[in-house]
């Protein structure tokens, strides 16, 4: 079964607390190939962040297993670096130090001090943040913080890069900029990426496949859509293509018909 690079096998999650048992995920089955960019989309509260946390190892699975490069995930680690929604940069460290912390942690034994320094700068260059390397997170904009968050994750050379709604808190223009940067980086480095999003256009533009989640409780994968668009994709060139429009329509149709949003009364 676990031939794929990242394999999520029959995974279920149940939270128990104060006598209440809630089943969040049930029977989730997903295979991601090396170098593939996969998005997970669904309504709020459908457990898509839970799924990402399982792959990250921040949460334990209740049933089934998550396997990355033939090894079962049991705890968090830099081989599954996460870009958190709210950037999670350490405010007392400079931009450079934030990235360097991860670099030092991963390459302490294998690379010299100078190599680690160069690697930190190289990754800041990838996200075009070299100019702000000595600033503190509080001194740069939200989009810039997220760029640094991406640099920190990339610098750890993860097997799987996990993006947890990375652009959700940003304005539309900044978001578009960052999406372009992520596409460029993905084209250049060929990372395996798992991204959580609730933005349909973002999912279509960036992904090779879009995984659509049904609503909870006991959410699972409702449908997987292959996005048949050539790369490199340029925002203004692809968004009128029939394949783009069709993919977009399919995702919207799923979200509104097969898994309509939770009613206000239930929320």
């Amino acid at each position: 079964m676990s031939k794929a690079y990242l394999s999520i096998e029959n995974v279920g999650v149940t939270f128990k607390g104060r006598g209440v048992v809630s089943e969040v995920l049930r029977g989730v089955e997903l295979q991601v190939e090396k170098g593939e960019f996969v998005s997970i989309i669904g309504h709020s509260g459908c457990g898509k962040s839970t799924l990402l946390n399982l792959v990250a190892g921040l949460l334990p699975v209740s049933t089934g297993a998550v396997i990355v490069d033939k090894v079962a995930v049991e705890q968090p680690g830099p081989d599954r670096a996460v870009v958190f929604q709210n950037h999670s940069l350490l405010p007392w460290l400079s931009v450079y130090e934030n990235v360097r912390l991860g670099v030092d942690q991963v390459f302490k034994g294998t690379r010299s001090r100078a190599e680690r320094h160069d690697w930190t700068l190289h990754n800041l260059g990838l996200v075009q943040m070299t100019h702000a390397k000595d600033k503190r997170p509080s001194e740069i904009s939200g989009g810039m913080k997220q760029r640094v968050g991406i640099a920190r994750a990339l610098a750890m050379e993860p097997k799987v890069l996990l993006l947890d709604e990375p652009f959700g808190a940003l304005d539309a223009l900044t978001r578009a900029n960052l999406q372009d940067s992520v596409m460029e980086i993905h084209a250049k480095l060929g990372n395996t990426v798992l991204m959580i999003t609730h933005d349909v256009d973002e999912a279509v533009l960036l992904s090779d496949r879009i995984v659509m989640m049904s609503n909870g409780p006991a959410a699972t994968i409702g449908q997987v859509l292959k996005v048949d668009l050539p790369r490199p994709r340029r925002r203004l060139e692809v968004d009128m293509l029939p394949a783009y429009v069709a993919a977009r329509h399919a995702v919207v149709a799923f979200l509104h018909e097969r898994a309509p949003g939770v009613r206000v009364a239930a929320a």
């Binding site: 705890q75 968090p76 599954r80 709210n86 350490l90 405010p91 007392w92 912390l101």
Partner: protein, 299 residues
């Protein structure tokens, strides 16, 4: 301070040609530097003048009340006549306990420095323990909550009985008074390390020691300094009280000594010293806190 402000205000009053003074406030085309300096000066005035006015009002009310009730506290003018030597010469040293107030304050400050440093080190260590271990929290927190309500002076006989000597007893009283807010605030800070930062530490697979120094301690620093600031204030309260009973050199004993000699004016001068030193201590710890936790609270 008060005298200077008064003389500044009264400067325009002398009957000199007014033309010399008038152009100063708002020249038509001020250079940028002058405009900036003017703004800064105005801002400083805005900060400095209100408390001086308050002080002036207090002194005037006090003066009138005291003059009309000769049996009560000495009036400010009376204090000036009685204690001018003490006010103007804080640095004299005639040997023994006959010293200027500066030396008394310095001795007290040394005691605070030792007792408070111990309290800071032990308090932060215990606070981290209580904040990070649920078992330690359950075991220690109730004891701490009870002990912290014991007033500083109540510790004095106990420490005297245990340590037999005045000086270590005074240090212990400072220590035990200052330690509670440090422990409690550190524990809160440790418990409130944002989940995101914990997750960063987990994804990076930081060792427990690495996590402690790279994430936990910096994240808790603002809380720790809140505790240290409260602690240093309380230890200054404790030192004055404990010195009153212990004797020797120190502001506390000075106050007690003057009370026995019925020199109320000297006591009031000493109180001003106590207040100003306490204020300076608080600001000093706050300043260090700001430097150490540069931006730690900002996201």
């Amino acid at each position: 301070m008060a005298l200077r402000a008064v003389s500044m205000d009264s400067q325009p009053a002398p009957a000199k040609p007014p033309a010399e003074i008038l152009p100063m406030p708002t020249p038509k085309r001020p250079s940028r530097l002058v405009a900036k300096l003017g703004e800064a000066a105005l801002e400083t005035l805005g900060v400095v003048v209100p408390p001086l006015v308050t002080l002036g009002v207090i002194l005037i009310v006090w003066e009138t009340l005291a003059v009309n009730m000769p049996a009560g506290l000495p009036a400010p003018s009376m204090i000036w006549t009685d204690s001018r030597q003490l006010i103007l010469h804080p640095f004299f040293d005639n040997g023994g306990v006959d010293k200027g107030l500066f030396w008394h304050a310095l001795t007290s400050l040394k005691r605070v420095a030792i007792g408070f440093s111990l309290a800071a080190v032990v308090g932060i260590a215990l606070g981290v323990l209580v904040g990070s271990s649920r078992l330690a929290h359950r075991g220690l927190d109730p004891i701490f909550q009870v002990l912290r309500t014991v007033p500083p002076l109540a510790w004095l006989p106990i420490s005297l009985a245990a340590l037999h000597q005045a000086n270590p007893s005074a240090l212990f009283v400072i220590f035990i008074t200052a330690i509670w807010p440090v422990i409690i605030n550190t524990a809160v800070g440790v418990r409130n390390v944002p989940e995101d930062y914990r997750n960063v530490g987990r994804v990076l697979r930081l060792s427990p020691i690495g996590y402690f120094f790279k994430i936990l301690l910096p994240a808790a620093t603002p809380y720790i300094f809140t505790g240290l600031r409260i602690g240093v204030g309380m230890s200054w309260l404790a030192i004055v009280a404990s010195e009153m009973l212990l004797g020797g050199v120190g502001v506390g004993f000075f106050i007690w000594d003057q009370y026995n000699a019925s020199r109320i004016s000297d006591i009031i001068v000493a109180l001003v010293w106590v207040g100003l030193v306490g204020f300076a201590l608080d600001r000093f710890v706050a300043l260090i806190g700001r430097i150490v936790s540069r931006g730690a609270s900002a996201g």
